[in-house]
Symmetry: D2
Amino acid sequence: MIIVMEKSSLDPQIEHIANQITELGLKAHVIRGTERTVIAAVGDERKIKVESFESFPGVAEVLPILAPYKMASREVRTDQTQIQVLNFKAGNGAVGVMGGPCSVESEEQIVSCARAVKASGATALRGGAYKPRTSPYAFQGMKEDGLKLLALARQETGLAVVTEVMSPEDVELVAKYADILQIGARNMQNYRLLEAAGRSGRAVLLKRGPSATIEEWLLAAEYILNEGNPDVMLCERGIRTFEAHTRFTLPLATVPYLHRKTHLPVIVDPSHGTGHSYLVTDMAAASVAVGADGLIVEMHPNPEKALSDGYQSLDFSQFDGMMKRCKVIADAMGKQFG
Amino acid sequence: MIIVMEKSSLDPQIEHIANQITELGLKAHVIRGTERTVIAAVGDERKIKVESFESFPGVAEVLPILAPYKMASREVRTDQTQIQVLNFKAGNGAVGVMGGPCSVESEEQIVSCARAVKASGATALRGGAYKPRTSPYAFQGMKEDGLKLLALARQETGLAVVTEVMSPEDVELVAKYADILQIGARNMQNYRLLEAAGRSGRAVLLKRGPSATIEEWLLAAEYILNEGNPDVMLCERGIRTFEAHTRFTLPLATVPYLHRKTHLPVIVDPSHGTGHSYLVTDMAAASVAVGADGLIVEMHPNPEKALSDGYQSLDFSQFDGMMKRCKVIADAMGKQFG
Amino acid sequence: MIIVMEKSSLDPQIEHIANQITELGLKAHVIRGTERTVIAAVGDERKIKVESFESFPGVAEVLPILAPYKMASREVRTDQTQIQVLNFKAGNGAVGVMGGPCSVESEEQIVSCARAVKASGATALRGGAYKPRTSPYAFQGMKEDGLKLLALARQETGLAVVTEVMSPEDVELVAKYADILQIGARNMQNYRLLEAAGRSGRAVLLKRGPSATIEEWLLAAEYILNEGNPDVMLCERGIRTFEAHTRFTLPLATVPYLHRKTHLPVIVDPSHGTGHSYLVTDMAAASVAVGADGLIVEMHPNPEKALSDGYQSLDFSQFDGMMKRCKVIADAMGKQFG
Amino acid sequence: MIIVMEKSSLDPQIEHIANQITELGLKAHVIRGTERTVIAAVGDERKIKVESFESFPGVAEVLPILAPYKMASREVRTDQTQIQVLNFKAGNGAVGVMGGPCSVESEEQIVSCARAVKASGATALRGGAYKPRTSPYAFQGMKEDGLKLLALARQETGLAVVTEVMSPEDVELVAKYADILQIGARNMQNYRLLEAAGRSGRAVLLKRGPSATIEEWLLAAEYILNEGNPDVMLCERGIRTFEAHTRFTLPLATVPYLHRKTHLPVIVDPSHGTGHSYLVTDMAAASVAVGADGLIVEMHPNPEKALSDGYQSLDFSQFDGMMKRCKVIADAMGKQFG
């Protein structure tokens, strides 16, 4: 932590802060410049409340030095984590693809999706049974019946199943049927849910909240890791910006940036990240090219009739085209794809 | 709903959409212009999935007409709701103030805060017992012990107690001690929690998520109203923007805008909305001037030593100054303040 | 400047940087912590390119310490600048109001506006003669004819005239007629124009670009101050965010924040800052309450018929109501208003 | 244009608007729904001021239907424009690459850059002679001397030269030396400059302003096209968002979105779009994969010593690696690259 003092700050103010730093178990270095005095606090600042120094008299600014997350950081683990669930692999040279409908709607729908997903070479099936819906008047999902259909589709195809869990009390039930638990963007900072997912024994796909900083996102991952669950995948699904021609803005630079900061695999969701089916394939290709460790893509037998998110879902043939286009790029990069 | 067709759209595409609209129970008006054809769907579009028309061939854009929320809207109730809890009143001419620490830390701390809040003329006490913390390594709150101390402070002062609830399974317990349940910004779209708060029998203070649109926020309120609980206050606490000199950007135009769209009272939180104690009083004054129905403000006997949010907390004397400055403005506007 | 090294950085990398800092005329302090090494560079870092250290091997992050602007800063001048032009005063206890139409349209229009502005107690007249328009097909202003009409309106009323200048080659002409030159939001970083305005001998109203940081904005002011012109007013007119119910988001916390950082007066534009006439009066009141040194507000004899910006213009009676409501607040704050 | 009326709107208000529409030469269709009345105005709404209807009594919202730009739109030209300057080609199957330093610093620097750019297979040389700098205290460029060095480098290598022009009065001089005029992000809405570039006889690279909407950007292009210059390239260089780990957020979905809306080629700038050299190559690859028609990339013989933007510049070997990685992707897409 670096504390920058106001130009007008007084010696007793500087001493007061230096003493406080020492009391907290860190070392204080006071550096008096021609323009400003700065105080460097040396030691593990994660143990203290860095921002609280802002309220000390004479302080202009407080600059943290250490990232506040630990277990997710590259400092703890320098190679990249690969997560494998059945045939699905993400990270460390593997690009895993999860395809499927927004919501599970019927046996016929989910099984036909699963077959198409598998036929196109992907290894995981997505499908929502519990649906967080912006409006209380919208379709809220098939709940446990949906979970059962997902399990059935896995039995038919061998695909790994990924599905969202919305509440800590549902974690046990969802974990019974699913291979990977998805924490949705709206719940990225639902800490009880993160803790429950951390204790579930299942891999977790943690979506970024649309206004979450990278640091907040990695701290959310830290809640899961901290419960002893190392199998966390980060999913970039777009942030909220002034740009209105896409539903969210998908900032792909997140992928190589995260690869420097964390050993966890990074998945991209071009469906929610754009909100328009006609942008999904191009952004999926860009995601692979930028180095993503996986994709999660919405598809549906008949997007016009989908009970949710039809406007951003690919049909089977578009999904297949997307897979082919991405595979060429992954191959050129020497990565395993599917 | 208005559907704008591509310039190159074909007659059978237009017919297909018109038929689909009719099938869904609305009336379709096809308007052929010199430049574009548009299709107006007349009827209650809330019953259908407006966006799904985006995936129909030939469609350029879909423009919803009706707000998707109902019970929160001005169309349902033209006068403004006033919420009263003990001596706290917000809305319809009353500006209610909630003051207190970020976290309950001890009996001495919370009772001294409550006394200072009351002495300055405010009518509600805030204080966190369950704390949603970005980092798993930060202080997570005193939990039920904190709730008990809040109840004790109420007994001493008669202030209404507002405190956050983070999980549906805690609603019953928190509702036992608190007068007003706060749903935090991170949980604005935690729908299970909204539903549980809707059934709690307590007034609810619903904070805006930092990237939530007004529409998403009112739909979150709708989840609570829809459970039969009419006592919902909306709390603007800042949105996430590129502006980095404040922790969030506090968009005060939200207040008069909401007053046009909803009958629910609008509270402003200048503490989280700025993130710096030296900006809080000015923004509190501006909030009253813009027409807010209430304020929620962090204060602490000794901000330097606060276990959380000290950098944005006022001390007792600053809180008192803030109250005085706001009262003058409220008086000039003919409003009850405190 | 503080340079934070990667955990894996090597001693020769640290030495290389320390040498480079010394070569540039600053002093390097190397602080070796348990977790990280940081290098503090002491001296006037404004003379060097701080960010360039980011490209040195082993560097994790570079944190500037000094604000890059000088003449605009509080460090140079601790009291607040008051700018006076005719009867218009802004800053240091005075809240000056500029009212008038978006565009000058005719003698009758501008003179009637000027009379209404004066009658309501304001001291400056705004009106555009050169109009920066998003579309090449929109009305581009009356140009020199408009300037003449503004001068005529000043003659009739004694109001100070503020009008926009769009290009360095127009500065001389506009300065002949106007008392205050407005640099619009789109031109905040048009450096040639800033320099020309700095040499014009006229006070300058510098609008914030909708995505400009506070630092970029103050550096733009610095271009003007640097030419020897001390009469610069900063005008907050809203930033671009995801919030779509207002045309821009008006972040009023900017006002007290700027008051800490700069001695220059801060004006607020609630017309462009909201984009809807029904929000203007409330936000004008909030601006005065938050401590603004002035307002610039669009008004028009008949907003329905305005050639530009009618949707955000007040009519004469609304303007008068706005003035009355703001005056009460300014009076309560002990400030001169008008 | 669709005008949505308030639920409480009155018949005379509806008639008043319908009459106004008719007066303006469009046809008004009044559609009375069960919930709302909407008025559709049929005809070329570009001729009228759509937003002005917002200030009419009884109006809830005004929804424009037609894009306000014409010559840039797909409706005018359905195939894609290809721009060719010397050996540089962008659009319609060609991906053109512009490489070079941020600023021209010396003959040796620019000629060595040009040779490296050519050796790596790119066809255009970038280099700034007039530099728009945020701070008045920063290096402002070599001006005409820089232009002469660029021309010399072209002579040596045959590369097309692209360089920024900042002011209308410089257009003639810059056009004398350069093949492509760059309009920088800060000047995207400097309309005088756009008009002058439109009359210059040179191809124009129009960078997106960091808070410009797509519509504003295409309208800026329209200013150039409207002067009779068809050779406009759009350059996405990142938008301003809350995301702070990159200098700007590079929204690659812009590329396929623009391809639907306009026939103009779309170039991506991964250097400014990320602000960190370690992110440039990955984002360049993603840009090609998403369908960009060109790249503009900063490189420097020795980024540590660059007079500007060293932190986001590649060295020669990194540039060469970037070219190789992108070529594989372009080849896979069947596009010409270089």
